[in-house]
């Protein structure tokens, strides 16, 4: 019996969301009176023994190069095999891009009930009940997993990373890896930017900014805050900004610590993608803009005046 934590990596480095999952898995193991162990697929440059600092006693590594790229079919097979050989009863992973591809496959392979997009530790007082977001963040569901093995994927940015002392033993996991049926022919990363779904702070612009030529001030503010940039749907639809920046019900759903919405009205479909943000700041010249109802802080004013000042004030703070 143990909680097995899937640690996701890309290009030799462990992803930020995996540290959240480590903390979640370790706390869950303590809650149900068992140990937490980690599983990593592929090869990495990071020091795996150092994962002990997050509370895992052991890290299993399937150091097979085929596994350096995601192939959901192969990943699920290897992880399910590991679950059985290690004797894990709970598998936790991030509800990130990789998690969305593999969680259900692992679940189906093991006939293990799955809750995706969990936001809290399960309530194990009566069953195994996991809280998750539904209706695009407009509600929560408490879902009971009724099978002996459970799979949980955790929403990114919904759990604080706890780091202490310690060192884990690293063991290599012997698994058979079939040749991948997926050939990765290119990886195109937008360089120099903070990935939107991993960002702590997001600066977002809407149609109120009038045109793509005005995004310089948004980028300056984002740069000063080390933030990612996002936009409303009409902005992406008009090709003012790249499609991957579109947040909302039909775009990307995010839950950063801070979301700064500039010149966005706050339509219900937009809110559905950002309403799980911890702190929301709205800058809009219309005091009646619906976004103010969902905001924690707001300025009623012209973005073209307020935003440059905001950047300057933050710079001042950083210099002090």
């Amino acid at each position: 019996m143990c909680v097995l934590i899937f640690v996701d990596q890309t290009e030799g480095h462990i992803k930020k969301s995996s540290y959240e999952v480590l903390t979640y898995g370790v706390k869950l193991a303590a809650q149900i009176g068992t140990t937490a162990e980690a599983l990593l697929l592929g090869t990495v440059n990071d020091d795996l023994a150092a994962l002990g600092k997050y509370g895992v006693s052991k890290v299993h590594q399937a150091a097979n190069e085929t596994l350096n790229h995601l192939d959901a079919q192969l990943y699920a097979k290897v992880i399910a095999e590991a679950v059985q050989s290690i004797g894990a009863t709970v598998v936790v992973l991030s509800h990130n891009q990789t998690g969305k591809a593999i969680a259900a496959r692992i679940s189906a392979r093991l006939k293990a009930g799955l809750v995706t997009g969990a936001i809290a530790l399960p309530d194990t007082s009566n069953g195994f009940v996991v809280k998750r977001t539904v209706f695009s963040g407009k509600a929560f569901a408490n879902v009971n997993i009724v099978t002996p093995i459970k799979v949980i994927s955790l929403n990114p940015n919904s759990f604080h990373v706890a780091v202490g002392e310690g060192s884990a033993t690293v063991e290599s996991l012997n698994v058979t890896v079939d040749p991948s049926k997926i050939k990765v022919t290119a990886v195109n990363k937008v360089s120099g930017e903070v990935p939107l779904t991993e960002a702590d702070i997001v600066v977002s612009g809407g149609r109120g900014l009038k045109g793509p030529e005005n995004w310089g001030m948004i980028e300056d503010l984002a740069h000063e805050l080390h933030a990612a940039t996002a936009c409303s749907r009409p902005v992406a639809d008009s090709d003012w900004r790249p499609h991957h920046e579109h947040v909302g019900q039909t775009g990307v759903q995010i839950a950063p610590n801070l979301y700064i919405a500039i010149g966005i009205s706050g339509a219900i479909q937009h809110l559905a993608g950002v309403n799980r943000s911890k702190v929301i700041v709205v800058i809009n010249k219309d005091p009646e803009a619906p976004f103010f109802k969902a905001a924690d802080y707001g300025i009623v004013g012209d973005a073209f005046e307020v935003v440059p000042q905001l950047t300057a004030e933050i710079k001042k703070m950083h210099n002090n």
């Binding site: 079919q73 259900a104 799955l114 809750v115 509600a139 569901a141 779904t197 559905a272 307020v306």
Partner: protein
């Protein structure tokens, strides 16, 4: 070549979300049902584009749900597709839904199964993964671009901060999102044609659910916005730093 597109119905994006029976059930009163936007705008329209290029493609739509799904599946047929299949059962357990779709897919021998990346009500992002595992075929999720050359698909999928191009031989399950295709509006001819297209209702197979919803909760209301004057931006920075500890 045969394509199967998975269609689910969801409450209209502006619906008020409420629950009944001690918060154990979604309150459907007054809710307008629509096609899940990812299924409609991206999965279905992509399939239509493929069929327009190659009219020999057989395009089937499938939904798992009770008879109240019929208007929505007819609306999907109005956009295109040869016939629709409805598996007559309902569940909040995504695995149970996927088992039904996988059974039909196995029987039908489809080369390509397109789904939305997620439903906007349950947001599981799990049905396509389940289907692919049940069929033991590759799965590419969060797809933003799809091209077909003979029996090999080239698919761009979202990764953190960019995209990755995958090449995979059919059959494959693809979870579609924005970028895949342009949104379309059904026209009168399509709506008329949809009335006479076959909608096959099939009985579900037995399956044990792996999860069950205990109840729902609504989020606590926000305390209310703290407004700062436009000529006092420094105060906003102070609040964000000292009070919210967000910067």
């Amino acid at each position: 070549m045969k394509i199967l597109v998975c269609i689910s119905k969801t409450p209209d994006t502006t619906s008020k979300i409420a629950f009944k029976n001690g918060n154990t059930q979604f309150d459907e009163a007054g809710v307008q049902w629509i096609l899940n936007p990812y299924d409609e705008w991206y999965a279905l329209v992509k399939a239509l584009e493929l069929k327009e290029k190659d009219p020999s493609i057989v395009l089937h739509l499938i939904t798992v749900g009770t008879a109240d799904c019929d208007p929505v599946i007819r609306k999907a047929l109005a956009l295109g597709g040869d016939e629709a299949i409805r598996v007559n059962t309902d569940s909040t357990d995504s695995y149970s839904i996927a088992v039904q779709i996988a059974a039909v897919a196995k029987e039908g021998g489809y080369d390509l199964i397109l789904t939305g990346k997620e439903t906007i009500d349950y947001n599981g992002a799990s049905v396509p993964g389940f289907i692919s595992e049940l069929l033991d075929i590759p799965y590419v999720s969060l797809a933003i671009k799809f091209e077909l050359n003979g029996s090999v698909a080239t698919i761009d999928r979202e990764i953190e901060g960019g995209e990755e191009v995958n090449e995979v031989a059919l059959p494959v399950v693809v979870g579609c999102q924005k970028g895949m295709a342009e949104q379309r509006i059904p026209n009168m001819r399509g709506i008329m044609a949809a009335r006479t297209k076959p909608l096959k209702v099939v009985a579900p197979i037995a399956v044990d659910a792996l999860t069950s919803v205990v109840n729902f909760e609504l989020p606590l209301a926000k305390a209310g916005v703290k407004l700062v004057a436009a000529d006092n931006v420094a105060e906003l920075v102070r609040l964000l730093h000292e009070e919210a500890k967000a910067i």
